[in-house]
Structures are given as structure tokens and as C-alpha cells.
């Protein structure tokens, strides 16, 4: 029997106004995407603190996907300016410490981009599947 494929756990932080609505659109359009993603709806991607992302990795997430409105479309005008600053910084810091490289992804998906949503989730899940379980999860616990 073929070995079972690794099923990663992915946490998605999606903004209420754009990406979450985009996910809705993907749903009502009956677009298929992998069920590995667990979605947490937030009012704005700017409310996602890097702490939450780190906490997700600590708790065993293999990937974290953050979705927000395109720059200029933020419901709160400038919320996503903060998102991109924080997340780009966090991506580089995680890379430096060798914790996770490429397991944190930020994508702007609008409410009208249902197909893009399905596409992004599909590609991200594929990528994480290839990477396998996260280092943090595999790391031996100190006694």
C-alpha cells in the first residue's frame, strides 16, 4: 500500500472584508481547494500580530497564510500598510533564525477574487506538503 501523503495543518488569518468574502465567493462558486486550511476570520489583516503567527507555529501549524485587501482597498484605509510591514519583517526574521522559511505567506485577495483564493490555497498547500512537517514541531523537546 502506498504511504499516506502528509497532510499539513495550515492556519489562515483572513480579513473580514476582502479575503474572507473571497473565500465565500470561492465556496458559492463551488471551486475546489484542499481542506488543510483552518480559517480564522479577523476584522482586518492589520489586527494580526506577529505574536499570533508565532503562536500558531508553536502550537504546531505547518503553514500560516494571511489574506488581506489589496493596498488602497483596506476597509480601515491603512490597516494593511501595517500588515505588510510586520509580516515581511517576520518572514525575514524567521528565515534568519532558520525557524521556518516560506511557511508564512501574505497574499492580497479581494472579495471578487474567488478563483484567485482557491488558486492561492491550492498552491500554498502543495508547497507546505512538499516542505513536510515544520521544524518547530519536529524539534526535540528539552527535558
Amino acid at each position: 500500500m502506498a504511504e499516506k501523503e502528509y497532510e499539513p495543518k495550515i492556519i489562515g488569518f483572513f480579513c473580514n472584508w476582502c479575503t474572507y468574502a473571497g473565500a465565500d465567493l470561492a465556496g458559492v462558486s463551488r471551486l475546489q481547494y484542499p481542506p488543510n486550511i483552518r480559517v480564522i476570520r479577523v476584522m482586518c489583516s492589520g489586527t494580526v500580530s506577529p505574536h499570533h503567527v508565532l503562536r500558531a507555529f508553536q502550537k504546531g501549524a505547518d503553514g500560516v497564510l494571511i489574506g488581506g485587501c489589496h493596498i488602497g482597498d483596506c476597509h480601515y484605509l491603512k490597516g494593511n500598510y501595517m500588515t505588510i510591514k510586520r509580516m515581511t519583517f517576520l518572514q525575514d526574521l524567521l528565515k534568519f533564525t532558520g525557524f521556518e522559511d516560506g511557511r508564512l505567506h501574505l497574499e492580497w485577495i479581494s472579495a471578487a477574487e474567488g478563483p484567485k483564493f482557491a488558486q492561492v490555497v491550492r498552491e500554498f498547500t502543495e508547497k507546505i506538503k512538499k516542505l513536510g512537517p515544520s521544524r518547530l514541531k519536529l524539534a526535540p523537546k528539552a527535558a
Binding site: R55, Q58, K78, I84, F96, G98
Partner: protein
């Protein structure tokens, strides 16, 4: 040293300052001390702290300023201490009008040990300028390690952590009343070593705020190379936002305001 004592004496005599926060030699130990006009004879014992005896004077100054909000204090600063004061002004923790600098330039061996890019303050009352170290070899070494190797290195360091919070408690830039490191929803409680993300959460807070005084690393009982982590954080902030931590000329911290139109692009998957 005489130059410094003379300046302090004059400051206290003129009544410009309510006190001078510096170091005193007491029973063979260099200790932080508040020199006041009431006891001018003590100024003769004022010293420049040797490199291996440093205290977070910026932090003590914050407490003093809280207790005596109307008073002006003079404080002994190195390059790093001044950067810290600048950053504290920006974050609204101290009033620049109420601080007088008594500057000390670090000797070359201290600058080399710290890999300090700016080992002297804007006012120098003791010592001479030395050669700054512009590139940290310790950071470069970790940068050269890729993924797994870097991870192993950091994990072996983080696993030594005894969660004493010493790095936070001594840090002159840690002024928050509530700390993410103690938030039960963000950090597991009651276990040692703490979550592997413990030091990373601190590194997040230190980015664009750490003034590279190195007290955290000197204070750490487990010898975790914290400084390398924070140096890298600052380097990233410089690279991304062109922000010089502790400089008065590059505006407010990039984390403090929302800013104008963002020109950054998301990274490809």
C-alpha cells in the same frame, strides 16, 4: 575623568540640574549613583564606569523622571545610552528638555567587543572617538548558515533559557506596563525552557528599538546570544524601512505610525 567631574560640578553648582546620574566607586565596586547638589563632595568619587560594569542608566532615569516629573537630570551616556534616550524621546517616555548629557566615548576594545557602529555620544566629556565597527561578524556567521543549521544553533541556545526575564528586566527600552512574554494566551506558562518562540517575541519588540547596549546578553545566565538576534532585527528594519534605531534624524519608528501609501510588495510564494 577630571573633565567629566568638572562639568558635573558646574552643572550641580549652577542649579541647572536636580542631580547627576552616573557611577561612583564604592568599596571597590563601581555602582550607579545619583549625585545631588546637597552632597557636592561626592563628585570627587564620580567615575566613568569600566566596560565590564555597566548598568541600565536609561532605565533608572525613567524611574527618576517618573518620580520627579518637573526636575531636570544629567546622566552619563555612552553612544548606546544616547541612542536609547533618543528612542525613548520618540516613544514619549522621556522629555528631551529635561535631560542633560554627560558623554563618554568608549575605548576601542569595548567597541570591538560590542561590534558597535557608534561608540560615542554627541557630547564627549571623557575619552576619545575610536573606530566604529560597521559590520557585525557574529550576525554574518549566522546569516551564512542556512535553514536547518541555523535552526539547530538557535534551538540549542533557546533551550538553555531559564525564563528569568532578566533580558527584559534589564533592558532600558522595555517600558511596557503589560508584557507579551507574560500573556497566557501568547506564551505557555509554567514551563522551563519556555516556548521556542519566547526569544523571537522579544526580538520582534526589539526591532527598531534595540539600541545595542548588550546588557541583555551580559545579564543572561544561560549565555544566549541575544545580541545577534536583535542586531539582525535592527539590520532588517534598516534595510526595509531605512530606519536608524536611536537616531533623531530618521523620524519615528516604522512600527509607530501607519504611514503614507505603502510601496512594499508581497513576497512571491
Amino acid at each position: 575623568m577630571d573633565r567629566l567631574r568638572e562639568k558635573v560640578r558646574n552643572l550641580l553648582k549652577d542649579g541647572k540640574v536636580a542631580g547627576y546620574l552616573g557611577y561612583i566607586m564604592k568599596d571597590g565596586h563601581p555602582l550607579p549613583h545619583l549625585f545631588t547638589p546637597a552632597r557636592p563632595e561626592e563628585v570627587g568619587q564620580a567615575i566613568v564606569a569600566p566596560g565590564d560594569a555597566r548598568y541600565p542608566l536609561d532605565k533608572l532615569l525613567q524611574q527618576l523622571a517618573k518620580g520627579y516629573p518637573d526636575a531636570t537630570f544629567a546622566v552619563q551616556v555612552r553612544g548606546c545610552d544616547e541612542r536609547g534616550l533618543n528612542e525613548l524621546y520618540k516613544w514619549g517616555q522621556l522629555d528631551p528638555e529635561k535631560v542633560v548629557l554627560v558623554g563618554v566615548a568608549c575605548p576601542q576594545d569595548q567597541a570591538d567587543y560590542c561590534e558597535c557602529p557608534g561608540p560615542w555620544p554627541s557630547v564627549i566629556d571623557s575619552g576619545n572617538k575610536c573606530k566604529p565597527v560597521l559590520r557585525s561578524q557574529r550576525v554574518d556567521r549566522i546569516d551564512a548558515l542556512a535553514g536547518e543549521a541555523a535552526f539547530q544553533e538557535w534551538m540549542s541556545a533557546f533551550n538553555k533559557c531559564v525564563k528569568c526575564y532578566g533580558c527584559r528586566d534589564i533592558c532600558p527600552m522595555c517600558f511596557c506596563k503589560e508584557c507579551a512574554l507574560e500573556h497566557p494566551d501568547l506564551m505557555s506558562t509554567g514551563k522551563v525552557p519556555p516556548d521556542s518562540i519566547f526569544q523571537l517575541v522579544r526580538a520582534l519588540h526589539m526591532a527598531g528599538r534595540c539600541i545595542d547596549c548588550g546588557l541583555c546578553e551580559e545579564n543572561c545566565p544561560a549565555d544566549i546570544p541575544l545580541r545577534v538576534l536583535y542586531k539582525k532585527g535592527n539590520a532588517l528594519v534598516k534595510e526595509m524601512f531605512d530606519y536608524d534605531t536611536g537616531s533623531l534624524t530618521t523620524g519615528l519608528s516604522p512600527w509607530k505610525f501607519l504611514g503614507d501609501e505603502s510601496t512594499m510588495e508581497t513576497k512571491p510564494m
